[in-house]
Every structure is written in structure tokens, then in C-alpha cells.
Symmetry: C2
Subunit: 431 residues, 2 copies
Amino acid sequence: MTDLVKMAELAKKASIKMSALNTDIKNEALKKIAQSLKENKEKIFEANKTDLYSAKTLVNAGEITQSTYNRLKLDENKFQDMVQGVLDVAKLDDPVNKVLLKRELDKNLILEKISCPIGVIGVIFEARPDVISQISSLAIKSGNVVILKGGKEAKETNTSIFNTVKDALSLIPEFPQNVINQIFSREEVSELLQMDKYIDLIIPRGGNSLVKYIKENTKIPVLGHADGICHIFIDKSADKDMTEKICVDAKTQYPSACNSVETILIHKDYPYIKDLIITLKENGVWMKGDEVCQKLIPDIEKATEKDRSTEYGEKTVSIEVLSDVDEAINYINTYGSHHTDSIITNDKTNGNKFCSLVDSAGVYINASTRFADGFRYGFGAEVGISTNKTHARGPVGLEGLTIYKYKLTGAGQIVDDYVKHKKSFTHKTLN
Amino acid sequence: MTDLVKMAELAKKASIKMSALNTDIKNEALKKIAQSLKENKEKIFEANKTDLYSAKTLVNAGEITQSTYNRLKLDENKFQDMVQGVLDVAKLDDPVNKVLLKRELDKNLILEKISCPIGVIGVIFEARPDVISQISSLAIKSGNVVILKGGKEAKETNTSIFNTVKDALSLIPEFPQNVINQIFSREEVSELLQMDKYIDLIIPRGGNSLVKYIKENTKIPVLGHADGICHIFIDKSADKDMTEKICVDAKTQYPSACNSVETILIHKDYPYIKDLIITLKENGVWMKGDEVCQKLIPDIEKATEKDRSTEYGEKTVSIEVLSDVDEAINYINTYGSHHTDSIITNDKTNGNKFCSLVDSAGVYINASTRFADGFRYGFGAEVGISTNKTHARGPVGLEGLTIYKYKLTGAGQIVDDYVKHKKSFTHKTLN
């Protein structure tokens, strides 16, 4: 038995204990974690310095980007947010043990559908030091066990935060062992991906290639999204100012976010195409366009077929002019990534048609795609954004880390009596 | 492009239209199907005769079992149930377009979580002629598109029912094309399993080896269960009569059902072990037991390690004597299939502990495991029983064929205003 199999087996056992842990102990654990993080602040910053020192060399050698370096760097603000994030999860409702349905099947035969944790979750993420405490908190509150694998650039920081979390949990006698686990190597990740006996869900948090690799190499359900190719369709009736404001926000507010717009589609009869292009240009956006756009403003780069499904992740956007909302819907369903798409319109029928027929996790009318986020939706925290068509879609909060079981409490009932019509079901909903 | 890719692509397109289809048209379609089935009854029975003629040869050659033959055989009762099943689905609530959450994020910025169909579902099933009409009805009501692959023994019957369904749908001008699709060969199944671009969910309905094969050969989410290894734990305090009644029902009422009991665990201090064994024997149950059982009744066959995880599917059961409820919970979580497990007890604490810690889709107190069924739970119809830990668990009804999308209706809001604290979220729940 490898060390990882042993770890996974213990994790599975811990998950049974976690499923029955009461809310008070879970919240106490979260508060202890927040406190320990504060107490170990210096140690964590020291570890982060070590990572940053190695990372600087990699930046200079061109092996990692400056933005990876920036994400890796812990500062006072990020640290405060990290601690506050843990305390915020303590304040959220416990998603476990909720009676989702209560039904009398017959006299003294009561069916309850009760929410419960999923079990053991593998989380694979890239260099961001706040993920360990954030995911650990969400896992604890939802009664799940996690096996965490962070980016190698953040190894010292992650280990320091991981140990802080573990130590904090060990102060609570009722808290089960082996709830928060860490692995380090790529080899362990490939082994983990094969362990469908022990691991119930994999959550990859990172770039497109990480997510694609994971989806292609496991039979375990994967929750997440590979691409974030979001669209805005500007209808004929769209308000000029609103259009420009939303497009600038969706592209420039945080260009590397997955919910930033990548393709702007414009109704051929929208009267202010040229004004929009000028506004985008003034806001530092690089545009690629079709022939119509190029005719309007000659210095726009020509868009190719590949631009139709490119997530730029920077201040670049492709623009196409289309005939109507139906063409836009079809375009988005064909080239999009089913993440978040918005229509700007004053025509309610077109707005609702767009929302009904665009097959995406988020469908918006007159709002920036950047709103696709668990905090902005009021979920308190998010595990990530899913473009799955099963289990959980869109920003996933605590609820997405739960499933349910059916509890049936009887008084000796047998099926034969119902098959032979000696008894019959009442099927009375009780909640 | 192969014919199957073409079919899948058209199915995907049809799924967009289906997602917006209103309830009346869906119900009209179901009524037309029921009517057409009645009108084409003779044709369908003719097709079934052809299948039965070939099947008889296979039974004689020992290639298929008599019970497969019996399942394949359509009779008056099965046909009536089939027609009634379609009409029953028409009566169920439409699971699509339900507002699951309505929240004001800010003034004039309204978030709605709206249920919607999953998309394109591949259903692979073995020889049972009623599956085509049942799954087609559930798919239509939930707004999904299906690609069906039935057992080759039922090819003529399936095709005849399939054509009846298709012809009925073609009578309704508003009903989209390509909603119900059929494939025939194993090669097409393996091709289908690779089409994660078009197929959103696979539902296998059949024996263990079919389900295992599918789970091992696709990246598409699979909804179902391979094994049904259900347990009954008889606690020290269990009532004698109740125990015997439940054990007989759970084992003999329909032994080949997935929710029949396979292993009976008995508390060492339960005083009526011998009586239970005698009762089971009188009811034609073949028992395999541990040493304790063998000492009590010498003619019990010795159980081996393999019996701990065997789904007999017939009137055979393995029996083990254990120390307490904790050992039983651990046993069930280790050797079970997370389907349905029951405790018989007069001790409420043990009952609730069992339900809390047994990690199964169904956890029962004082009731037969045979209750695990969508109709008995009052879901009206079921797609199957799932032992998944994500999306849907236990008997899956119409709701399990849906997911949701987030619709955000704004008035030009942008994220930058909230990041810069010019505006703040209200997060007011409206439903």
C-alpha cells in the first residue's frame, strides 16, 4: 500500500466522522484556525519570502510570469482577507443536516431527504497562498475531507499555512484526525486521479491546461471550468451609454478573470458601433474585428476563426457584427464555453429569449459579465465556478459541496403489503 | 463526420429548442404518444413476437436466461402499464423553469436561479421493451433530448415502439425534430461514450457488468449504480416478529431487485438468531453464515470473504454476527455498495447513529430495503437509482434530469462601482 493509498483510506474514514460533526465544533475549529493564522503570521510571511526568492529566479529565467509572481506574493491586505475569509465561513449557515423533503409514505413510515457532505474532495490549485485556508474552511463547514495539492512555486507558504491549520485543529479534541491533507508531487496527483474508490470529487482551480489535464485523466467527477469565453451581445435597441459602460467594465475591470468578456457581438442595426470602438480604444482595449468593423475603423486587427473561441485573459477583445438575437444565441452556444453571457437590450422579448436559449451557467440582461462570482451572488464564499451540466453550475458555494441521503423511519413495514394492496401509500408532504 | 456525430450534433441543437418548450406542448406530446401506442398495439406485439422467436433459440442454446426471455416478453398487463406510465408522466409537475432562488443583489439587479434541462442524455439499457416509452416520456417532460440504445434481443420491439413515439411527435408541429434518437450497435455505444462535446449525461440501466463497462469507458457523467449490496442490521433490541417479517420481505419479495437484502448482520446479543434462520429457511432462503451461525444451525453453508460483497440476485443471503452497531456501520461502509441499508432496533439512539454514519443513498430504521424506489417514494416515476455522491442520489425522478442556470437582470450595473465602494450589494432574498 502506497502512502497515498493509506492517506486516502484514512481520509475516507475521517469523512464518516466529519459527516456527523455538529455545527458548534465546526465553527470552533474555524475560529481556532483564524486565531492560529494570526499567531503564526511571521512564520507564514517568512515561508512566503522563501517562495518569492525562488520565484524571482524563475521570473528572470522566463519560466513563470510576473503575474504568477504577484499572485504568489502575500501582503498585509491579502493576509487580513485570508483570516477574515475563514471567520466569514464560520458565520455561514451549516449546509449539512437540512431536511430538504419530509414526506409520509404511509402511517408511521416517514421519508426524509437530508443534506450531507459529499465525502473526500481532491483540490488541485496553482500558486495562490490563500487557497489552503479558504478551501479548508469550506470543507470543514460542509463536513467534507480534503486532499490539497498546491502549485510548487508556493510550496513553503502552503506548507506553513497547512501546518498552522492542522495545529489549530489538533487543539480541539472532538475534531477528527486526517480531515485536511496535503500532497506535493505531480506523480501523487496522477495517483490521486485514479482513486475513485476513495475520492468523491475533484476540484481543479487554475488555468485551462490544468483543468483539461484533470478532466482527461480521471473517472472521478470534476467540478470546475476550463475556459471562460464570455460574450456580450449588443442588441439593436441597446442604450449607447449603458453599452459602453458595460463593455469597458467587462473587459478592463480585471481582464484575467474568467468572467471577463472575450467576444462582443453587435446587432448590425445598432447605431453606435463606431462610438463603442472608440471608447474601447480609449480604455486601452486591443480589438480584433470582422470586415464590418474594419471598414468602420481601419486600424482594427482582422479576427480569424480562432478568435471565436479564444480566452485572451488580457485587454483584447474580438468583435463581430451579426444579423439578430437568434444568430447571437447560436454563435454563443457554438463558440462559447457556457460560462456567462450577457445581452444589452431594451427589448424584453429579446432579453428573455436570450436567457432562455443561451446554454450557459450565467445569462444576463443589461449587466456586466463580471458579476459571475459567489461573493457577488451573496453565497458568502465560493469553491469556484462550474460549467458542468450536472451537480452544480455557476459559482459554487457551500451547498455545492453537499449531496443528500434518504432516511426512512418505519414501524416494521414491508413492501409485500403494498404490492398485494393490503396497504396503500398516502404520499403526504410534511414540510 | 460519422452518422453518429451528425446525430449527436442535431441532438444538441434540438436540446436548445427543447429547453424552451412550454408545458402544454410537452404534455400534448405525451398524450399523443400514449394514443399512438394504443393504436399501434398490434404492430408492436408482432415485433415482439419476432424478438421472442429469436430469443427462444438463444434460451435453448443457453446464451440468454429464461428470466431475460420473460423480461423481453410483452403481455397485455405490461402494455397497459407502459401506456399508463406515459400518461402518468404527463400529470407530473413540469420540473423546468422553476425559480429556485430569487435575490436582489442591488436595486434593479435581480438574480434568479432557474431550473433547466441537462441537455442530451444517452441511455443504454438491456432487454426490456418498456424502457423506450418510459425514458422518452421522462426526457420530454424534463425538456431533455435522448439517444437510446436497447439490448439487441429487443431490437424489433424497441424499433417498433421507437417509431410509434417518433410518429406521434411528428404530429405536433411545434415539437422539435431529433429529440428521441436510437442507436443499435456496440460500436456506436463506444463512439457515444467519447462524445463529451455533445452528450451531457449517460444513464446505464442494466446489470453490474454493463454499468461498470460504461463507467470505465467515458468521461461523461454517469448516473446509476453498478451493485446493489444492501444490508439489514438486527440490533440487540430488535423486535422478533418485525425482524423476521422485514428480512423475509427484503430477501424474497423480489430477489433479483437491486434493493433486495444480500447480507444480514446480527447483534451478538439478539436473542432470536436461531428463530430467524428457521424462518428464512422456511421461506426458501439459502443461507451462508459465519461460524456462530454454523454452530447454531449446522447445515448452513460457510460464508467466505467474497460473500461479504456479493450481490446474489436470488434467494441467497449471507449472515454475520457482530458486536454492536459501530461494527455494523463500519462493515456496511466497507463492504456495501452505498445503495440502501436498514437497521431493525428499538433503540432510537442506535437508529439515528446508524442513519447518520452509514454512507448510503438510503438509510432505514425498521423498514424493508425494498422501499428504495421512485414510485414508493412518491416521485411518480424514476429514471433509476443512483449511488453517486454528486448530482443525484437514490431513486432519481424528473428533478434529477434537471440542472439550473443563473439569470441576472440589471439596468446597466457594472462591477467596478462595487469594487470601488460607490455602490454596495443589498443581497435581499425575494422568494
